[in-house]
Amino acid sequence: MDFGYPVLTILIAFPLIAACGLFFLRAPQVVRYYTMAASLIECLLAIPLINFQLNADFQFVEQIDWVHKWGLQYYLGVDGISILMVLLTIAVLPLCVMCSWTYIGKREKEFHFCLLFMTSAVLGVFCALDLVLFYVFWEAMLIPMYLLIAVWGGDERKYASLKFFLYTLAGSTLLLAAIVAFRITGGTFSIPELMEMNFSFRFQFWAFLAMALAFAIKVPMFPFHTWLPAAHVQAPSAGSVILAAVLLKMGTYGFLRFCLPLTPAASEYFAPMMIAISIVSILYGGAIALGQSDIKKLVAYSSVGHMGFVTLGIFLFNQRGVEGALFQMLNHGIVTGALFMMIGCVYERSHSRDISKNMGLGKYLPAFMFFWGLMALASFGFPGTNGFVGEILVFVGAFQHSTIIGMLCVPGALLAAAYMFRVSLKMAWGKPSTAAGWRDLNAREWVYLTIPAVFVFWIGLAPTPFFKVIDPSVDKLLNDFDKRKVAVVESEQPLQTAAADVLNVLAGKK
């Protein structure tokens, strides 16, 4: 669909151009207002996206030759799966600027540069329809995130940032190998074209493993999750918000965009393993979160559990499961983002993230506690909130798939309720430590907490518009998947084949 001007390119390029403008500014306050204005303009620039047609096609497509000889293209487009992620990313940006308004006390210019740069890169990831372009954006986002943690983070920021960088980059080198393999085998880097092709099972087997590792690290799935708590705890609020709201989604988006359509047979083959890992993630994340005394760490581990629901939904391969996964991606972005912003609020007041130092807020900070309670309810899927919609869909999908899998995730939901209740009760009614002198939410905090709250209720009470956007794409994804997953399983013993493949690759034979 052609609108005469490149909507997606403008959305991707604008934050980057605005970021360059920061170099000409000096006063920290001016920098903040400038970035705020830029992020609001970015939201306005996204308005043309309401022309999105409710079908499964890639829309707002832009396609230009990049390196002709190698078939690289500058190829952008969004469908029902990616458009929500694009909108989420754009919506999170002004909230991040607002929640770091007084939080960031040094090098404001660079900080906001990183925020804007990051937004560009993440938008690129969700819009790219060329594998190499995708990879370029995927990697480009590492540098600003590294800086956000390493410069503005907590006491152990260096360790956390290095761990984050090494983990994710090591994972994505394998993704690059998979991308090259797709080009050699399929003859193109174009994702829509590759989606039409049937690859041999052996090829899919390896491609899936290489891609899934990169995505699993990003999600993060157990046991590749260890970078996440460190990164979350050390990152400044805005960093945690972006990390939770959009960065983790890149991993699950990768599963939906690449693993299912490009390697359907291998996805089917590995699904039991992925489901098992997801369930472990759900239970493990919940159990560890229950034992935390640091609020931020608690929410970070809860992310491992929540994202476990997302990957579980994806690998159920049924309508409800995938819809639920998409909803959970969106919900987790909204709710966990808001939770991290609120942790920033209390941290600014108490200079501690310890639960014991942030108690008794119900009396002194009622407005804050209202939002916290709301987000906590949404986080564990209380009916009427957005969390409920996503979680129930995944549950329905899981029970459709098999009763045992359904039963196995139930404790996950209970754990989520348990840790959220525990922390909320302590924060609301625990014995006040120093909270007596604190002021309740100021106007700025009201603004950036109200916006997620609106979405919590909107998605929770009237999710239909969101279904309309995602359903056609999910239908198409699953239809294609069902048609093509039957593709030839060449060998009865894929593990033996795998060993043979390793030897062949090392020997240079095809």
Binding site: V136, E139, A150, V151
Partner: protein
């Protein structure tokens, strides 16, 4: 003897430049204008002359000297490299006042030798050009006033170089004896399988050793970190970049002989893999910045092998493109090293601490350079590596590609530490000279960084040039404009 003067314009221009430098170095020490005042313009002009000569082609001097797309690609790159090196060295603090003209003359001679190397298509000519390029290097490496390490570095370079060239000459004699020709074009039609012609294969391996020395490929890399460390920062910038281009162009030409699956190709692939692995692992332990860059260049030499063993025009194009990327990335990093060490000292990693505050443009450029060396998008290093991987996959050396990918993951750590020290470490080490933060330093770094990023984002024009150069070696001819015949 066929001879076409117009096809030699870049070389002749360089020769003139070097002769003028020679006259100045022979004359009165106080000659006006000082060499640093005029040479940058001369070198800049030489770069433009090389660009204008891109379409030239022709064979001359009894077919030992060939002007084609491959040679012109490298001549442009070398002329650019020389230009940047001259600018970089223009404020060299560790060079004795009376030796400035001599210094540039030797740099110029070496560059001229490398340019001849780009066009040489016959083994003896290659050998002669290589020697011309090397002798000047032997002289300038110890030129670092009041530094004991400099002499040591010079001696190491000479001794290693002498052994390597001796091996090359020895290998050359074997090739001549076994194949009865030294022209690459004729050698292309001969068999290079060990079973059929063992002597020739041994000879070629030995001959390649001379190139490996220049490229600092394992196991001929031992000089590299020591020489970088001992030579002045500005000299190291030259040694780290330009001779490697010479080696790459010769290897590109010789790679035409190497079909995948041949023993000698496998040797190259194994050396490449060892080079990447040893280079990266050794670099992990370094704290001296130039030693770190030295070991990193050993690793990069290994990366280039990936393109060369693929046996396709694309692979050779990718290697040539990576040669250009390597030059730009290293010149950028060395530019910053030279500016940060404004008193000419050797930098430790800790000397970069807080660079973002003292010299933001240098710090940003260093980030671009370091990430390009890692191979992170959207830099030229990424595109270069990507082309190498894509060209080599499925041509018999998949394990080599996998080694490259794994090695990139290892390399992240030490390149990231450059970035980490510049941007996130605040503690500045004791009293040291402040970085040169003037407009000249910033502009140079900024422009090189912009080039690294811009070519990374839009690699197509240069890459197409490199590919066509690669195709020209295989006899795939495209119509190009320009003089000559």
């Amino acid at each position: 003897m066929n001879f076409n003067l117009t096809a030699l314009v870049p070389e002749l221009f360089f020769l003139t430049l070097v002769l003028v430098l020679m006259i100045q170095s022979l004359g009165d020490r106080n000659w006006q204008p000082p060499v640093e005042k005029w040479l940058p313009f001369g070198a800049g002009l030489a770069f433009f002359v090389s660009i204008t000569g891109f379409g030239l082609h022709g064979t001359m001097f009894w077919d030992v000297y060939k002007v084609d797309l491959m040679s012109q690609f490298f001549k442009i790159v070398m002329a650019f490299g020389f230009y940047v090196v001259v600018l970089n060295a223009s404020r060299q603090p560790t060079l004795a006042e009376g030796k400035r003209a001599d210094y540039y003359m030797l740099l110029g001679f070496s560059t001229l030798g490398l340019m001849l190397l780009a066009s040489a298509v016959e083994l003896i000519t290659i050998y002669l050009a290589l020697e011309l390029a090397s002798y000047s290097m032997y002289a300038i490496i110890p030129l670092r006033a009041k530094d004991k390490g400099a002499a040591e570095a010079g001696i190491k370079y000479i001794l290693f170089g002498a052994v390597a060239t001796a091996l090359a000459l020895y290998g050359l004699s074997y090739i001549m004896a076994a194949q009865h020709t030294t022209h690459i074009a004729e050698l292309m039609d001969k068999s290079w399988a060990f079973a059929e012609n063992p002597m020739a294969v041994v000879g070629l391996s030995l001959f390649l050793a001379g190139m490996f020395f220049k490229l600092a490929l394992f196991p001929f890399h031992f000089w590299c970190p020591d020489v970088y460390q001992g030579a002045s920062n500005e000299t190291a910038a030259f040694v780290a970049t330009m001779p490697k281009l010479g080696a790459i162009v010769v290897l590109c030409r010789l790679a035409v002989l190497l079909k995948p699956g041949l023993e000698i190709t496998t040797i190259l692939a194994v050396l490449g893999a060892c080079s990447m692995t040893f280079g990266n692992l050794s670099a992990l332990a370094q704290t001296d910045l130039k030693r770190l860059l030295g070991f990193s260049s050993v690793a990069h030499a290994g990366y280039i092998m990936v393109g060369l063993v693929s046996g396709t025009p694309e692979g050779i194009g990718a290697a040539a493109f990576y040669g250009l990327a390597y030059l730009l990335m290293n010149l950028l990093v060395f530019w910053i090293v030279s500016r940060v060490a404004s008193d000419g000292r050797n930098l430790k990693l800790a000397d970069l601490n807080g660079l973002y505050k003292k010299a933001p443009v240098l710090a940003f450029s260093l980030a671009a350079g370091a990430f390009a060396l890692v191979g992170l998008p959207p830099t030229m290093g990424f595109m270069g590596k990507f082309f190498l991987i894509t060209s080599a996959w499925d041509h018999g050396y998949n394990w080599l590609v996998i080694t490259l990918v794994l090695n990139s993951a290892i390399a992240i750590y030490y390149y990231l530490s450059l970035f980490r020290h510049a941007f996130t470490e605040e503690k500045v080490p004791g009293k040291v000279a402040a970085p040169d933060n003037g407009w000249f330093a910033s502009a140079g770094a900024g422009m090189l960084a912009a080039a690294v990023l811009l070519i990374g984002i839009l690699p197509a024009p240069l890459f197409n040039f490199a590919i066509r150069a690669g195709e020209s070696l295989y006899g795939i001819v495209h119509a190009v404009g320009g003089a000559g015949h």
